[in-house]
């Protein structure tokens, strides 16, 4: 009896809280929504991954590994690595320079510049490759001059690097610009007033503050560089062992009905993609942590991150 009365109030309070809050949804609704969401993601995202690995191993491990070791595959891996080694440092440098200019200074036309940096994202990859063909191709504007001097850009490695740089140009910049705008320039100014030089300020003050954003942007840039298909497909000419990147090699194998080999090379790319998104998540959690640390200060000093339209000038 006593224990009974003692227990009674608890569920009542509980019921009260739920009905007042009203936002703890009934179990059926919650479970249905969760099931639909999980089901949708399972079919659209998980199933393709599973299918790649199953098809890669359809003819056994030997076939799968032989596809990796094929000279054309190795050449494709080398070319992809080379492209990565050129494009990512270039676009990272660009991202840092653009973010520094945009976040630390005021100048006319800034928002136009930010929009222009985003431009490659909204252009179809095929058009991104095509503009370089129109410029450097055999019938392109500079084509005759280039062929006179024996320079090959289209259907050669420079074209692949150019097209990939175009497509992946915004990644680092668009991660860094909002981050550095939110952080403001007080710390850098303090360093300058204490006598630090430009590079010292950048390396000792700015870089530690933006390292996670920088890592995040670089990872995204690298992933896209590795997997870019449309733009590269236009400029590459598909010369085996010379101008085939990994995704193009997958396409060729697939079109030749070498399905197991195609999926085997594809599984390498899937593995890299999985590592990428895991790395991205880790960086994201770190970044949220470090943002939370400085959130109070940032909010106080910069009520509107994009404020300051006309100002004194």
């Amino acid at each position: 009896m006593e224990s009974g009365t003692g227990v009674m109030p608890a569920p009542m309070i509980d019921a009260n809280v739920t009905s007042v809050a009203g936002q703890v949804p009934s179990a059926p609704v919650r479970w249905t929504l969760t099931a639909v969401a999980v089901g949708f993601l399972a079919v659209t995202l998980v199933l393709p991954l599973v299918v790649v690995f199953i098809n890669a191993l359809a003819q056994g491990w030997q076939t799968a590994i032989a596809a990796w070791k094929h000279p054309d595959a190795l050449a494709a891996i080398r070319l992809t690595a080379l492209t990565l080694a050129i494009v990512v440092p270039l676009n990272t440098t660009f991202g840092l320079a653009a973010a520094w200019a945009i976040s630390k200074f005021r100048f006319a036309g800034k928002s136009l510049l930010v929009t222009l940096i985003d431009l490659p994202f909204s252009v179809s990859p095929v058009i991104s490759g095509m503009v370089f063909v129109l410029l450097f191709g055999a019938q392109g504007l500079l084509g005759p001059w280039l062929s006179e001097h024996g320079i090959r850009i289209i259907f050669a490695v420079p074209g692949i690097v150019l097209a990939t740089t175009f497509v992946t140009l915004p990644f680092v910049a668009r991660e860094l610009i909002p981050l550095m705008q939110a952080q403001g320039q007080e710390e850098e100014e303090a360093a300058v007033s204490l006598g630090a030089g430009g590079w010292q300020v950048f390396l000792r003050v700015t870089l530690p503050n933006i390292k996670w954003g920088l890592a995040y942007g670089t990872i995204l840039c690298g992933a896209r560089t590795l997997g870019e298909f449309g733009a590269v497909s236009v400029v590459s000419g598909h010369i085996r062992g010379e101008t085939n990147t990994m995704p193009l090699h997958v396409e060729i194998l697939y079109n030749e009905y070498q399905f197991a080999a195609a999926f085997s090379v594809a599984s390498l790319l899937v593995a890299i993609a999985l590592i990428t998104i895991i790395g991205k998540s880790i960086v994201e959690w770190r970044m949220q942590g470090s943002l939370r640390d400085s959130a109070g200060i940032v909010r106080q000093q910069h009520p509107a991150p994009n404020g300051g339209l006309g100002d004194e000038d």
């Binding site: 009905s19 809050a21 936002q23 969401a37 999980v38 079919v43 659209t44 995202l45 199933l47 393709p48 299918v51 790649v52 098809n55 320079a97 520094w100 200019a101 945009i102 200074f105 005021r106 510049l113 929009t115 222009l116 431009l119 994202f121 909204s122 179809s124 990859p125 095929v126 058009i127 370089f132 129109l134 410029l135 191709g137 019938q139 392109g140 175009f166 140009l169 320039q185 300058v192 030089g197 430009g198 992933a223 896209r224 298909f229 449309g230 497909s233 236009v234 995704p247 997958v250 396409e251 999926f263 594809a266 790319l269 993609a273 999985l274 990428t276 998104i277 998540s281 509107a304 100002d311």
Partner: protein, 290 residues
């Protein structure tokens, strides 16, 4: 005395002004490099397209653009991208809601997986989706048994578009959902609103800008997508041929004039989408509680 005052007034007046002027070094260097890099890699190459257009003249542009094959490709690309973006708006909102509001085992893993379409090379996505939706594939077989063709049909094009543009709505809606003040919902509930009313009257207005931005981004991505679609669509002119593929075909024929006329409208469309997305994002910022 006089000196003191002028120093005082200078620190008072000048501090705010000068803070935003060129105290920090590197303005000319970084802005110069940014503009040079952007011009060489993006602006000059893109303006080549406009130059080519000038060479062609309106008549030729118009006749290529209104050719039945071009129109059919545009119809498929635009309609397909609209359907795909719409699908992702609905499911993306649902997934974002579940990921933000509910706790269940595997939630973090799913959250991480959402980025997969951004990280997976589109060619890999293309062959994987084809393997799934081909008449012999896991899901394609089911559809084939009721007489619906998935791969090598317009439906296949839409499926590939859904895959590549999936993360946008989810990733843009998630932070906005997280920021919604629970107290507002609780207030709505105390005032007698049902859960559905709270959702449509309180939550939906707050997240509509985010969902629309995601929709626009998904649409822009889907319209230009090439890599994943060429595998699953079957590439039949007039039926399953998308605009980027038609451009590619013209380029492979070394018909640069034809490629330019087809590409021009797609390029204009991407400028319009870029502008629209910028406006929508400004709307989100204005609506966001700071």
């Amino acid at each position: 005395m006089k000196g003191d005052r002028s120093i005082a007034s200078e620190t008072k007046m000048g501090f705010c002004r000068r803070r935003n002027r060129r105290v920090l070094p590197g303005f000319r260097l970084t802005l110069g490099f940014t503009l040079l890099y952007l011009s060489l890699l993006v602006l000059i190459p893109l303006s080549t397209l406009v130059l080519w257009m000038g060479r062609l003249g309106w008549e030729e542009l118009w006749s290529t653009f209104t050719a039945p094959r071009t129109l059919a490709a545009y119809r498929l690309s635009l309609l397909g991208a609209l359907i795909a973006a719409g699908t992702n708006a609905v499911f993306g909102l649902l997934v974002a809601w579940v990921l933000v509001r509910y706790r269940f085992p595997g939630r973090r893993l799913l959250d991480t997986l959402v980025d997969l379409p951004f990280a997976l090379p589109t060619a890999v996505a293309g062959i994987a989706l084809t393997a799934i939706y081909a008449p012999t594939g896991v899901i394609g077989r089911l559809f084939a048994s009721v007489g619906i063709q998935t791969a090598y049909s317009p439906l296949g094009v839409v499926l590939a578009m859904v895959f590549v543009s999936l993360p946008f709505v989810i990733r843009i809606t998630q932070p906005v959902l997280q920021d919604i003040d629970r107290e507002v919902e609780e207030a709505a509930a105390t005032l007698g609103a049902t859960r559905l009313q709270t959702f449509t009257r309180v939550i939906l207005p707050a997240i509509i800008p985010a969902v629309l931005t995601g929709f626009a981004m998904a649409f822009a991505r889907a319209v230009g997508e090439y890599g994943s679609i060429v595998f699953i669509s079957g590439n039949m002119p007039g039926r399953t041929e998308i605009v980027p593929l038609l451009i590619m075909t013209r380029l492979e024929e070394f018909n640069y004039a034809g490629a330019t006329s087809v590409a021009l409208v797609l390029l204009l469309l991407s400028f319009v989408m870029l502008l629209l997305i910028n406006l929508l994002q400004a709307w989100i910022r204005r609506g966001a509680p700071v």
